[in-house]
Point group: D2
Chain length 476, copies 4
């Protein structure tokens, strides 16, 4: 396989692990969750699933594929009931498989329990080893199954108590939904790594979702975020909030604003589009470049590019055009077609580029392989100078809280100076946004964020050693 | 079915009929044509096909679906030979069917002949009636089959002579490729309604394609356009040009520049992106509006919006975000979700729109139903004023030359004043680009274009009555 | 590919070309034809199709596959109308293709005409050449298309006259159904090679079918056979019979009784099961063998085996058991599994065979390759003697009238003595039924049959040279 | 839904639960197991699966469908390794689902364990309740999962000890295969309800299978049956036999000989074909009838019919012909087609039946609905007298050991006298084989069999009450 294929196959960008959405109190709960997942599709494209209940019976449908492929009108009609929980997922381990699709549903002592999880547990290996020692059989390799096993051991003491005990053992990032046949529970970890928000439909039904764009599509009104460390219990009696664990330092994932979340969402209390545009504006002040025009590579740098153009006065152009008919299967080009993997999706406008000095605005650089091809394709289309500005600092450290970053050794910025990266990408100049500039663009104080991928300072110890004390604390 | 469904089902925009691509003289001809069709996919998404030959055997593969779905690596490997012709198609008559997929291939007296056609014949009914009277059996309802039947009757006199005689009978728009087992022929009608260009690969192989974007993707160098009324014959001896018919007034379809062609293509000798941007610039002079920002509805008005923003000084924003995961099947929303058919694909950025006066830039208005929903969705997201500028004049007349326009009665501008359209769409103001402005943006003189959809002046009489003389002229 | 694979891939038996069924005058015409085709599935398994009409609109559905796979409840519901014609087919030329599926339907001068054909024309090449010379374009390689082209040229003179003229030009075997939007016509060639019968439903609707088993399944009452040289025209006015051509010598295909037709059908006026059983009885008199038991290889020799056992007094056993779960795809056995291709479908009963002298009853031997494996598998399962009796004489000549026999060079009996075949098959003895015995079993005189595959005497000259006179006769 | 549909949908015959096959010590183990399952397909048609190992890695493939559909050449090639275990299954609970497909594979403390099970546990509900109380989470509703959970709790003491303890808790019928990454274990319950046999391939590899027909197809030599209560452990060191539990009364399922097993298999030490033929012979002595011929309904009574014909001297005919092209989907007949569900599959030979007195030989009568339609179809085809002989006594009691019998209330013989059944079926006379005659035909003493479905005497108490002692015995 040539290096070109590698560029094609490897994800150019970090990938999200999951999106979740739940509705309680509407006759079309599953259909509303379907549309919620539809809006959250950018958070995971490998599998999708919905579990629903009418208060008695629990039904499930999940499969590998996009939301629009996994569910049909018929499937949704069968998923009747007033409550439903859904999930979209990236499998981080190779092949997409329906076994690892979520929500994860079991029936324990005749009580159905399902879990839909966004995030990543850092002590899952230790927990699994402990549970297996006691005779538990695991069906999947998912963190979410550990949650179920722990809960099962404490359900006799009631659902809320089971959750409290379960998550006392668990460390890491978890924005999740738990559902039985009559109750829905939203849990966000005390650090609040991943977003989770609460909304209400016109008829009074509650909606919980990873991002507000899911609320918007189904016309739910945004109420507030589920708070770090909060447990929201929703049942026929209404909504109850509790904070069963000791509070922790807030550790919002700033990458949600840099790259992950949908621009029309409000995440951690402020709008993503606006934050990205401000990042571009601040970048224009930090990195002044003499050029003919600014251009994004659709759609990664669109909003920062608008900000950069506005603040710098350099006009913006669509120097490459996105092809909307890119198929899933990839046919090998026959000859040595250059930059093919880039050009087949993003078509350079030769008439625009010829003889021009251009500034590319990117939201992030991960491996750099794609960026390298992109720069080459612009030069071949006639650009005389190619500069790049990036709307975040260099990403140099792995993420343990739910983002499918490459390992540290694959992050181009980890072992290279900015000049090294610039040369690898074949740029005339390369400018990263400063950490301060990035945080400033959000409007929140720096200590509200997890900045580990930039700084290496991890709010929660990744992959801690196994200690018996963990379990004696929770009594598992 | 509610009116909302109607909006969803009916095409909001005129649809192209076809794109064609041929390669002569390359060992991977079919694979190159595959990528050529890939680049031309915007010209037709209902079926795709390739016919190829190694000089002896002729092979065909075609099916309903997108290029990337119709062909697999295995299929392409089987399509061996140094020459290939491909086609992408919109069926204008209801259901997509493989019967009407192109290229259309027959074997007549042991000689395989295939035709791939972009355009529309205006005297096809008369021709078909005449041929049936003489015993011909038709398999399809396609114009292209008529071409084959006429050619078959004259093949004894040689291929070029057969083509000359055939197209003497035929009236209308035809940019087409004809291929036998050893010869490829490109024909463009004397008016030159549809584009057709010629390129060359590094190894000297010729490429003919509807647009230059196909040349760009396969790294062919653009040579020149196939001229109106020109017949290009390509075989082992090389390329021969002839002009067998009387010249006619040039009638380039200006809608290629307004809406159809890909922005990175050069069509009729100039770049589409640049033309659209100029339309926006001229529009900014013709229609001055006081507003907070300009926005396109991706991706229809992107380039005119850039032009309008530049010329007016009003900043551009991405007021709606395109959802890239829209599936093909449509699930009915459960409640009366408002503007749903718009919002599911184009998500308004509430944070941006709230309290703002916005100008939408559109490339055209056909039925108006989609536009109406779009305006409503912006108002619901908080916009206080919504203005619209359109980068062409009102489209008031049907097209007979290969564009799947609605009938005149469905064109909202046909029977309404600009004020009427404005009120129907729910706008604060509506401004169309003038005919002169549109033509000016192209840089070509007005009499080079077919402007029939705006003016009702048809360069070639549509659907002429049947006259025996037609056939006595050509001797069929 | 080893010889074992060859045995697997090549058909062990001659294959039928087609079965046809038509219903006129029932509100569920297409559904009844569906069941008729279902009953005729043994006559062709590669494609199936139905054309129907309500007197105005004509609808068609056909595809590659078995009847039960090609049609769904929904498809059949769409095929509304009181008249319908159906077809099942073997493609004799390699790959199964929907292009060559029947019925063949065209619309000529706004009149839909469809043809469903069982048999084989012997002068099709000459006819096609002649028609192409006059400008006709052919879509398929099927004989049936020639019928349509010829008819189209004479339709102005009325349907019956067109048929009379058309079949004056045509030579060979044809039992066929022609249908327009309001008329159904059944035609059987003057020699009557292939069967065709007429029945009536309880409501008075007419049914035409290749075999009576189709009538039985849909509970139609058998009226009589369509006679050789007869044209039956069925329309709203009722049924009209005519005999437009000169009578010819009857030439019923005796292989219908030996092998092709379903045992529960009556063909050419007598029951197939009974004829086969009588063949076995006569064989028992002609070939006396000392053995422990008689056995068929299911299901080819079942009925002759019963006759042989009855007449000889030697008990019958099911020495091999048919596996009813044989799939379509074939996985290569891993080691040198012997006789695998036989044993995977027909499982020898070791407990029965060990130490026994057995007589296999077969209906025919074509290539002999399968037979050879079968004999070996019985010997390996413990049989001490293996004899074979065949309920027809050696097949030594090709068929030109609609049976997909191998070419003469592939018929094992063509160039071998009975002793040679016996040795090739590895038998202790081999006995064929005499020609006289075979004819006697039918109860009809010898001169009513085509016996060409046994005698080489062809009732109609196969592949005659092209003569202009043919067409001057019919005026085409 | 009319009563006719009910006949169609409900299984006319009891259905098997499962077939299993394992190979240890052959480089193509998975492929051989594939063919073994192919031969055992009659024991279960709803799902199929294979688990294999090369001593380290364990791979699995299973799905809903027939063996030939579930596995492709590519799938089998991926399933590499020298050991493999396979399973075919009937799901007795409604919808076929891949969740309940077997083998059931888990990884517990990094050790893969799989189970393939034929039979039914009678104390599964109690066991599951006990395990859940201790925190176990179940993924399926299958008995086999209980086996895995119990084993997991004892694996620290070694595989054999874990098995010994596990099956001390378990009551019921179990012929099963357990496989880790390096060991295969065959277990048959102390009563020996279901068959299980051992064979050897030419290269010395061991094969374990439900029936000998699996050995025959892959050319393994039969060694002996796995004995009731025996545990066979096969690993790189060879084969070890042990009998860890107290011996119990033999309780072979006689229905294997009456109906289930394949005729070419030897089951419980004697051939099935021969036993069935002897049942027919004894029946001819017990039930003398004056008739024109004996006939089976293929293929249920074929072998008993041969026996009956031989012993009675009444000739055998194939009065109905099996249609080999019956599809899986069922199209509703349009009019009131009588006996349609029978006739579409089994076509009566009218010419044979008209005016005849016939004896149908059946292997069993369960609900009677199908039999009733069959009798009617023969009368309509002209039979003047219809008698039936059945090669087993009336089945009056449910089965708890792995056969999917209808409940007692659905067994027609449960609440009806023989005369009552005769009248319901519309017969002239009805004769069942006596219990003594049935046992005599097997050659084994009566006390070696489970005859519960005929007598109601259950060798192992079905569905025992939950007692804590069960678990204190085994220490779970």
């Amino acid at each position: 396989m040539s290096s070109q294929d590698v560029e094609w196959d490897l994800p150019a960008k970090p990938r999200h692990e999951c999106g979740i959405c739940g509705v309680f109190g509407h006759p079309d709960a599953a259909k509303l969750v379907y549309f919620g997942l539809y809006a959250l599709q950018h958070r995971g494209q490998e599998s999708a699933g919905i579990v629903c209940s009418d208060g008695k019976q629990v039904l499930i449908h999940k499969d590998v594929g996009l939301v629009a492929d996994v569910f049909t009108e018929e499937t949704l009609q069968r998923l009747s009931g007033h409550m439903a929980t859904g999930h979209v997922r990236y499998s981080t381990t190779g092949e997409a498989s329906v076994t690892n699709a979520q929500p994860f549903l079991v029936t324990h002592k005749d009580i159905p329990i399902c879990v839909a999880h966004n995030g990543n547990l850092v002590n899952s290996i230790a927990l699994r080893r402990h549970l297996e020692q006691q005779g538990s059989i695991f069906q999947t390799t998912m963190d979410s199954e550990i949650v179920i096993h722990l809960m099962a051991r404490h359900m006799d003491r009631g659902l809320l108590e089971a959750i409290k005990t379960t998550f006392t053992c668990i460390q890491g990032a978890y924005s999740l939904l738990i559902m039985t046949n009559d109750t829905m529970i939203a849990v966000r970890d005390p650090n609040g790594f991943r977003p989770l928000c609460l909304g209400v439909l016109e008829n009074g039904a509650y909606v919980v979702a990873s991002e507000t764009c899911a609320l918007d599509l189904i016309e739910a009104e945004y109420i507030r975020d589920v708070e770090p460390g909060e447990v929201l219990l929703i049942n026929a009696q209404g909504l109850t909030s509790s904070f069963p664990w000791a509070p922790a330092r807030k550790s919002y994932c700033i990458f949600e604003h840099v790259y992950f979340a949908r621009p029309d969402s409000d995440v951690f209390g402020f709008n993503v589009y606006s934050a990205r545009k401000r990042m571009g504006e601040i970048l224009a002040k930090e990195a002044k470049i003499d050029a003919d025009f600014v251009m994004p590579f659709p759609d990664s740098g669109n909003y920062a590019a608008i900000g950069y153009s506005n603040a710098s006065g350099i006009p913006m152009e669509m120097g490459v055009i996105r092809n909307h008919y890119v198929g899933r299967t990839f046919i090998q080009p026959t000859q040595s077609m250059r930059d093919f993997s880039v050009r087949v999706k993003l078509n350079p406008v030769r008439a625009l580029l010829t003889g021009k000095r251009v500034i590319i605005v990117e939201d992030s650089i991960v491996r750099g392989t794609t960026g390298r091809s992109r720069v080459q394709s612009l030069r071949r289309a006639g650009a005389t100078e190619v500069h790049m500005v990036v709307s975040c600092p260099p990403t140099r450290h792995a993420c343990y809280y739910g983002i499918d970053f490459p390992t540290k050794s694959q992050l181009i910025a980890a072992d290279n100076t900015v000049e090294g990266v610039r040369d690898y990408l074949g740029l005339d100049s390369l400018h990263y946004l400063s950490l301060e500039g990035m945080v400033e663009a959000t409007g929140l104080p720096r200590d509200h964020f997890c900045l580990a991928c930039f700084t290496g300072e991890y709010p929660v110890e990744p992959e801690p050693a196994f200690t018996k004390e963990v379990f004696s604390d929770c009594g598992c």
